[in-house]
Symmetry: C2
Subunit: 160 residues, 2 copies
């Protein structure tokens, strides 16, 4: 049985079942600062439930190389989680369906993503750049973490 996943370009349409793609494609919602700045307004479904609050964190990750061996996915049952790179380099975004079928995407420069609450996803996998990300997620008292380990890892790469 093949356990390979081919990386696809990240698009809002393909990613819609899993979360939001946040970028500056298209026109801004508002022009501010005397015409010098565009505001792309309220572009993520931030959901931390009624007993949490929204927090701002930084993640600093080691870079990963392709092919990537996908063994672990996780989900946060109590809140959404958004990732924005503090560099202009792409990162690998892995999600999985409710039946645990995984999918892999690669971002373009200037794209961030928001995993909707409860969506299975891979851990942070930057491919180049600083490995530093802004992460907006739920701060609360619950564990807010489920993990699944694939007994046979998937191999994630560009066209095999």
């Amino acid at each position: 049985m093949s356990r390979k996943i081919t990386i696809r370009p990240l698009t809002a349409e393909a990613f819609a079942p899993y979360g939001d793609v946040i970028d500056c494609a298209g026109a801004p919602d508002k022009i501010i600062n005397a015409g010098l700045c565009g505001r792309f307004h309220d572009r993520a479904q931030v959901d931390v439930g009624t007993d949490g609050r929204v927090g701002i964190n930084l993640f600093k990750s080691q870079l990963r190389e392709l092919p990537y061996a996908l063994e672990l996915i996780e989900r946060h049952p109590d809140g959404s989680q958004a990732f924005f790179p503090m560099c202009e380099n792409p990162f690998l975004v892995i999600v999985a369906d409710a039946d645990l079928t995984p999918h892999a995407f690669v971002t373009q420069k200037g794209q961030g993503i928001n995993f909707h609450r409860g969506i299975w996803h891979g851990v942070l996998t930057p491919l180049a750049g600083s490995g530093q990300f802004v992460v907006i997620d739920r701060i609360g008292d619950t564990l807010n973490l489920d993990e699944h380990i694939f007994s046979t890892p998937y191999t994630v790469d560009y066209q095999h």
Copy 2:
């Protein structure tokens, strides 16, 4: 009368009266993802009051050049506002005291900032890079904006 402001390096101490400096200095609060990623946890005082919610936006700004003529400052009475560059380049951060005395800082690579609720600040002033920022602020029904125009602009630059 001199109307010049000298840009200082951004430090958490100097910026404390105005907001949070968010970076990966020091040890992470938690190591995650099988030891490959550090989490710098809950590093900003996010405050959107009781009648707003936290939203994620992108700002795409034109770059500014030094010396910068500071004419306009603004404040958001109903919420904090955080800025993180999606590139590794510095940006200029201008704040003002309650008596409207302005101060200017320049970030280092990998730093973001959060203006506390009600703090006077300059508009977004990237000096290099993509000009694209993640902005986390209040989404609500109020205007949430006060502006002040200096009748005589300040000149902002490195050591004059």
